[in-house]
Every structure is written in C-alpha cells, then in structure tokens.
C-alpha cells in the first residue's frame, strides 16, 4: 500500500501562522495588554481584602482556639485563589466600560461589533481554570473539615479521646432564651456562664428544651444547632485567656436577640476553684 499523497489533493495551507506566532500577535494587541495590566492591579487590590476580613473577624478578641485559626487561614487561602478569577471578570468589565468605548445615541447604532461566536481556547481555558479552582476549594475544604472535626472531637465521646489532657464534658441546654451549662463530671454543677480551663479540650452535648437554637461560641469559631429531641456535639480547646461571646444564631422566638452569654477561659487553678465555689469538686 502506498501512502503517497495524491497529486490532486490541495496543499495544506502554509501561510497559516504557527500557534506561538499567533499568541505573540495576540499578546501584542493594545487592548489585551491593557486588560492584563488592569487584571494585575485588581488582583493586587483584591488579595488584601483577606486581611481586612480577618481584621474584622478578630475585632472582638479572637481567635481563641485552633479552629478559629484554621478558619482564618481558609478565608485567606480562598481569597487568594479566587482573586484571579474575580479580577479577570472585573478587568473585562472595566475595559468594556472605558476601553472599548461606548456609543451614545438615541437610535440603534449602525456600527456593529466583531461577530465572535465562540473561541475554543477561551472556552477550554476557562473551563479548566474554574474546574481546577473548584477542585482546589473542595479538597481544601474537606481536609479542613476533617481537621476541625478532629479539633472539636467530632462525634467521638470525650472519654475515648487519646489526649494527654483529660477532656471536660459540658451539657449545653438551650431554652427560650437562656443557655444552661452543666458539668456532668463536676458533680453536675450548673451555670449560665461557660467557664473552661485553657488548653483543655471541652466537649459539648447540645440540646434544646423547646425550639431550635444555635450554640455559637463566636471567637472559638464553633457553632452547632441545639435541637429539641436530639443531642448534637461539638467542642474546642481554648488557647487564649479571656472572656468571649456566646450567642444564639438561630431565630428562636421573641427574645432571640438577648439569648447571649459569655465563655470565660481561665487557668486550670482558677477553674478548679470556680468548680469548688459552685459546690462541685474537680474529679481527675
């Protein structure tokens, strides 16, 4: 069998510029360069938003736990990776408004613009870029979720935790419109303020007496709904001394707004004496 090209077949076009040449030509266009410049400027503007966001998050004194710290890292990383896509969108927007010019007229303009129906490179490039971004966000999110689940002890009861420091169980009960904290291992003392020792894992069994509430320990980055008829779990290890906020994050009726209290992170000694004051004793 012959693999000779038949003579009457037309020559493949030779005057077609090669891809690198076409790319060079494209990047040499005035509007492409300007859009790239705007894109870079916008990316540089968007990224610091991460710090701004974290600054506002920390205004009330956090982060006070490793969970909150990881959450801030996530916000930072997510801003970083999605900034380019936001910036390219904004760059085209800005250039469309001010670069390609506009037509002011009452009548439909006669002048028409380039009939660009589609473009394989743009479509494929965009799809790949957004898919990679989504994949990154998913993977990061899942790893992060596993980490904070471990940090808050997820669904593993405190008694099975392998940690060196013995965790403290706290039963949290929401009811319209107060939080009650019960320490089952400290002779069931009860308190309407959460007092926890620093650097000790705290494990919460959360439930509600009436409607749905949501137990939100703000500066710890921890939140779980308090449901009637069910017990949900979460936890944290405080790593900063001080007084932080606990709020109800689910509309629970008339005085939802006032359903807030504090968590006091204290030293182990202070915690022990607080327990004694309350009439319980530290059971180690």
């Amino acid at each position: 069998m012959s693999i000779e090209t038949p003579v009457d077949q037309p020559e493949p076009p030779t005057n077609r510029p090669d891809p690198t040449h076409r790319m060079k030509e494209w990047f040499s266009r005035d509007y492409v360069r300007k859009i790239i410049a705007i894109f870079i400027v916008l990316t540089i503007i968007i990224i610091p938003i991460a710090w701004l966001v974290i600054h506002f998050l920390e205004l009330s004194g956090g982060p006070a736990s490793s969970i909150m710290e990881e959450l801030e890292t996530t916000i930072f990383v997510f801003t970083l990776v999605s900034a380019p896509l936001m910036a390219i969108t904004a760059a085209v927007l800005v250039y469309s408004l001010f670069g390609w010019g506009s037509i002011k007229s009452e009548e439909p303009p006669m002048q028409e613009n380039p009939a660009i129906r589609t473009n394989a490179v743009a479509v494929i490039g965009w799809t790949v870029a957004t898919s990679l971004l989504a994949a990154f966000l998913v993977i990061w999110g899942m790893v992060e979720l596993a980490t904070i689940t471990a940090d808050s002890y997820g669904s593993t009861p405190a008694s099975q935790q392998p940690n060196a420091t013995k965790p403290i169980d706290v039963n949290v009960t929401g009811q319209q419109w107060v939080w009650t904290f019960e320490y089952p291992d400290q002779e069931r003392i009860q308190s309407d303020v959460l007092v926890v020792p620093i650097n000790t894992p705290i494990y919460f069994n959360v439930t509600s007496k009436d409607v749905i509430h949501s137990f939100w320990v703000v500066e710890m980055g921890v939140k779980i709904d308090a449901n009637p008829g069910a017990v949900t779990n979460t936890g944290f290890t405080a790593n900063k001394l001080g007084t932080f906020n606990i709020r109800c994050a689910e509309l629970c009726g008339l005085h939802h707004a006032y359903m807030e209290t504090n968590v006091q992170v204290v030293t182990q000694d202070q915690f022990d004496s607080w327990v004694r004051e309350q009439g319980g004793k530290r059971t180690v």
Binding site: L59, V92, S96, E112, I116, T127, T130, L137, T232, L251
Partner: protein
C-alpha cells in the same frame, strides 16, 4: 398555507352553540366580585365554624388547635371564594354541563373589546397576564421594601426597641417571604408571560386559562400572608422553622395558606411555561435557534415545577401540626425538626436559582442587543443553565451544615456546592465573551448589566467563603449571610430584573422608559446598596447574628451606616418607580423595535395585537446575527469558517 387553511374554510364543521352573551358568567365576574366572593365565603365559614362546631380542643403542646383550624378554614375559604367570584370555575362547570366554549367566548376571555377592564378580570391573553404579574410584583416590592425600611429603622435605633419583639420578628419574616415571592415572579411572570410567547412566535401560551388561573391564585395567596401582621404575627423568619412555627400565633397560618396556594400557582405556571416553550416555538425555531432568555425561563420553570411541591408539603404538614394536632415536627411526640428543615431547603435552595436564572438569561439577551454582537458561545450558556438545573437538586444541605443532623453530610454537599460554581462560571464567561471587544450602546439597561456583574463578583467571592463548611461554622446565621444573599438576590437578581424590565418596557407598554430619571433612581439605589450591604458584611464578620433587634455596642457603627444606606436605597427605588409610572402613563410613544433587536417579539407591531402576529413567523437562523466579521482574521481564514460558526480571534 395548505391543509389547515382548507379545513378552516370548510363550512360544514359544526360550531358549539352560543349560550347567551359571549363570556357567560365571566362577563359579570371581575376582581370585585372575586373580593366579595372571598370575603363572604370566609365570613360564612368563620361564622359556621365559630358558632356551630365544637372547637377549642387544647393541643398537648402549645397552641389552640381549634382556633387554628378555624383560621385555616377561613383562609382556605377566602381563596376558594375569591377564585369562584372571579370566575375561575366557570370554564370547568360549563364543560361539566356540556356547554363548550365558543370562539366568541374564547375571544371574550382573551379580553377582546373590554378596554382597561380586562386587567381586572380573569383574562386569558398572555399579554394581559404579563401586565398583571408586573403590577403585582411592583406591589409586593412596595410591601417588602416598606418592611425593609422598618427593619432598618429598628436596627439603626440602637438605643431602644422601636417595635415590640413579636412585631419585629413577624416583620423580618414577612419582608423575607414577600420579597422571595416578588423575586420569583418578577421576571418569569411579566416577561415569561408577555414576552416569551412573542419571542418564540406563538399566538398565546399553551394553556391560556391556566395562565389566568396561576395569576389569580397568586393574587389570592397574598392577603393571608400580609394579614399575619394584624393576626398576632408569624414571629418566625421566612424559613418558618418548626417547632417555633407551631408556637406562633394564628398569623403563622396566613403564611402557610399563602405558601400552599402560591405553590399551586407556581406549579400551574411552570407547566404552562414548559409546554409553551417545548411545543409552540415558531416553525424553524430549532433548539439551537431559540433565544437564550427562553432557555433560561425553561430552566427556571423546570426547577419551580419540580421543587415547589417540597415547600408546599413542608407547609401542609406544618399546618396540619397546628390545625389537627399531628406531630410531624414536634419532637416530644416523635416528630423531627430536621424533617421540616430538609423539606424546606429542598425548595429553598433551587428557589434561589429560580430567581437568578431568568434574570441572568434576560441580561444575556439584552447584552447582545446593546453590544451589537452575537452571544458568545451559546452552547456554553446552554450547558451552564442545564448544569445549574441538574446540580440544584443536590445542594440543599449546605443550608444545614450546622444543624447537626448528619455531620458527615458536610463532605458530599460541600462537593456539590463547589461543583455548581462551574456551570455558573460558564454563564460568566458567556457574558465576558459577549462583552469582548464590543463598543457598548450606552443605554440604561446596559449600564445596569455592568452593575449586576459587579454585584455578582462580590456575591461570588463571599459565596466562596460560605460554601465551605468550616468557614460557614462561623458565618452561618450571621449578618454576613444576610449581606451575601442580598448581593445575589437584590444586587444580581432584582437589579437584573430592572434591566430586563426596562429593556422590554417599550414592547409591553408601548412607551419608552424615561432613562433620565430612571438613571438617577437606579444609581442612587445601587450606590446606597453597596454602602448598606458592605457595611453589613462587617457586622457579620464581627459576629452579629441575624434576625436580632438588639445587639452589642460593637455592631453599632456598621448598623447605623447600613440603615442610612437602606433609606437611600428606598429613595432611589422610589425615583425609579416614579420614572416607571410616569413613562408608562405619558412617556414617548415607542416604535415597534426601538433597540434594533433581532428577536421575534420586536418584529411585530406595538401595541401587540390580540393574536400577536398577522402571519406566524418562520425562523431561519438564530437571533444573534449581529456584528461584522472579525477584522483581525485574515480573509482566507474567514472563508474557511462555517456560516453559523464564525470563529473570532481571541
């Protein structure tokens, strides 16, 4: 013009006999007989229930089952009585009696020869229904916006409670659900009804009588909802979580009857839109030649039709807990609060796309016109909408990350939530590609498109945070979420709807929209919107929970800013509304195609005649044949290209 015409001319076809005047009962019925019918039926029901039936059984838990049942029956009686009074049952009853509608009857019902009165009647013409939906949406935005002003007043007055907590809680819930209903209907209602059949070259919707039914059911659904404010309130957010809803006063029942009725309306409208789009496109309008707005409307109608029943059943079971003492959602008796949350969010999330998708598709339609360019990658837009519809079915749990009902569910639903950003990304590329190298015709609808894309960037980046379970652990239930969804629903959805409405305004009203005043209103609202909600993001980040009426001093400043911003949104919207109303009443008379657009609705005359087109159009290409060949391409490359697929340089 062959067979059909011959059959039409055949004299021997027997016509149904005309009974009395054309229209029959419908000639007498209008909104006033409807209101009378509704009020009388409700009153009689209340009287009979109150005096003759032994009510008053006490529910084991919270509330009076008897009173609840009485109120529920009264509201349902209102809906049925109203629909009977306006003549919704006239058609079925006539068929049951064997009296077919004649051609004259049908024309009467379509509003022939009734002047302005047809807007107050059970009129089947899709153009009338479209206008009715538009006015209804404006009324609902009026209510919702007024409630928003009251809410911001409470939150701005940080030193005192302006309203009592029960009224305030009812206010936030009513604001939420009124706005949600308004947003669901504002594009798919006026434009899906008025413009869509014109755009596909049809004479009417597939089921004209169902069209009237869907609108008047919506109309009947609203009074029970708004009345809740004087019936003790609903005291719950628009989500109406249980068992809080079971505790709530009888106003809650108004909400439930409203949703149950509204879901019927949506389902009927959905069937009608889908059937019309699938079966009634003009000859030659293949799927690939169908305008993208039609595709977007179809996508929204599919999602509404499939998911609204979830919401309806959620409320039906909730009402049953209140009214007949069941305990679907009452844990003490074996119910589950998580059941309600799941049913609710099964619609609750797709509903966001029911709002966003038609507005986005409408924006694409007008970008093409104002940029004088073809839509960039029609196929990508199709895949984008299809992807949104498909994935929308499996993202609802991202509203429930913190409920604790399934801690492991965070993983798969984080995956689906991130995945849905890919088809949305496609839609963004379609818009950017359409803008690429276009000189825009500088008119208000196009300027609003830029504003919408800007809002989508902010809504997008904050959405990226919220889709992540760990971050959501902080953000969930905070003002950050409120700000985010206002960016999506108002910044992208409502502003997009405004662009789309003023684009089609000349065709719908026969008048040009006054852009000079409209512009002032829109930009005031837009800038004030940024102030209000950027500031609200800050409050959320600082840890302010949503739906509160008092809060820490730490959030004071950002709330003051938000309140001032909100007042200016109100002022801007009123200016815009003024422009809309004055243009409608005495604006410049519009030519039939003021934008030089290529879609079919602009090819018929304005005002649109009763059956839309003198001769039904035949379609030979897609409507995006704008533009000159790309000057950057060499001549021989141009010749290579397929006519339909003119590939431009990047």
């Amino acid at each position: 013009m062959s067979q059909t015409a011959v059959i039409h001319e055949h004299k021997a076809v027997p016509q149904p006999k005309q009974h009395g005047k054309p229209g029959g009962f419908l000639a007498q019925a209008n909104i006033f007989t409807g209101l009378i019918g509704g009020v009388v039926t409700a009153g009689v029901t209340y009287f009979i229930g109150d005096k003759l039936v032994p009510w008053g059984t006490q529910n084991a838990d919270f509330s009076q089952v008897g009173l609840n049942a009485l109120v529920f029956c009264t509201f349902v009686a209102w809906v049925i009585g109203f629909m009977a009074g306006i003549g919704a049952f006239a058609g079925p009853i006539r068929w049951a009696l064997g009296h077919d509608l004649t051609h004259d009857d049908a024309e009467y019902m379509a509003g022939k020869g009734q002047g302005r009165m047809k807007y107050w009647k059970y009129t089947t013409d899709h153009k009338v229904v479209g206008i009715q939906y538009l006015v209804m949406a404006l009324v609902l935005f009026g209510f919702g916006g007024f409630f928003a002003m009251l809410i911001r007043t409470e939150l701005g007055a940080t030193w005192r409670e302006v309203f009592d907590p029960n009224f305030y809680n009812s206010l936030i819930g009513t604001h939420g659900i009124v706005m949600i209903i308004a947003m669901i209907i504002v594009v798919a209602g006026p434009l899906g009804n008025f413009i869509m059949p014109l755009m596909i070259g049809a004479r009417d919707m597939a089921f004209p009588r169902l069209n009237a039914l869907s609108f008047w059911l919506l109309f009947a659904a609203v009074p029970p909802l708004v009345l809740n404010l004087v019936l003790g309130g609903m005291r719950d957010g628009w989500t109406a979580y249980q068992p809080l809803g079971t505790q709530a006063p009888i106003g809650m029942i108004g909400y439930q009857v409203c949703i149950i009725t509204f879901a019927f309306s949506t389902g009927i409208a959905g069937v009608n839109l889908i059937t019309t789009i699938v079966t009634m496109r003009a000859r030659g309008m293949t799927w690939a030649r169908t305008p993208i707005f039609i595709i977007g409307t179809l996508a929204a109608a599919i999602m509404g039709l499939v998911w609204f029943p979830m919401f309806q059943y959620a409320q039906l079971l909730a009402a049953s807990d209140k009214v007949i003492g069941t305990s679907f959602y009452i844990p003490q008796n074996g119910g589950s609060v998580w059941l309600y949350e799941n049913l609710f969010w099964l619609l609750g999330h797709p509903e966001v796309y029911v709002i966003i998708v038609p507005a986005t598709a409408g924006i694409m339609e007008l970008m093409v016109v104002f940029l004088r360019k073809p839509l960039f990658s029609y196929k990508m837009a199709i895949v984008g909408f299809a992807g949104v519809v498909g994935i929308s079915a499996v993202v609802w749990v991202h509203h429930m990350y913190m409920t604790g009902f399934a801690p492991q569910a965070g993983y798969p639903f984080m995956l689906s939530t991130e995945l849905i950003s890919i088809p949305f990304g496609f839609l963004v590329l379609v818009m950017l590609g359409t803008m690429w190298r276009g000189k825009a015709w500088n008119r208000l609808p196009m300027m609003i498109v830029y504003a919408v894309i800007f809002d989508k960037i902010i809504g997008g980046i904050t959405g990226v945070y919220l889709s992540d379970v760990p971050v959501d652990q902080y953000m969930h239930g905070s003002m950050f979420v409120v700000a985010h969804f206002h960016y999506m629903l108002m910044g992208a959805g409502l502003f997009g709807a405004m662009a789309v409405i003023i684009y089609w305004f000349p065709k719908m009203t026969g008048r040009m929209f006054d852009e000079r005043i409209g512009k002032i209103g829109f930009w005031t609202a837009f800038l004030a919107f940024q102030v209000t909600f950027l500031s609200m993001f800050v409050a959320g980040l600082q840890g302010m929970p949503r739906r509160v009426l008092q809060f820490d001093n730490a959030f004071e400043i950002s709330n003051w800013i938000s309140t001032i911003g909100a007042y200016f949104i109100g002022i801007g919207m009123l200016i815009f509304l003024y422009a809309l109303i004055t243009s409608w009443r005495n604006g410049k008379v519009a030519p039939s195609n003021p934008w030089g657009s290529k879609t079919l609705e602009w090819q018929t005359q304005t005002p649109v005649p009763l059956e839309n087109f003198p001769v039904l159009p035949v379609v030979t290409s897609d409507p995006y044949g704008y533009g000159v060949p790309d000057p950057y391409l060499k001549v021989e490359e141009q010749l290579d290209k397929d006519d339909n697929e003119t590939v431009g340089a990047r």
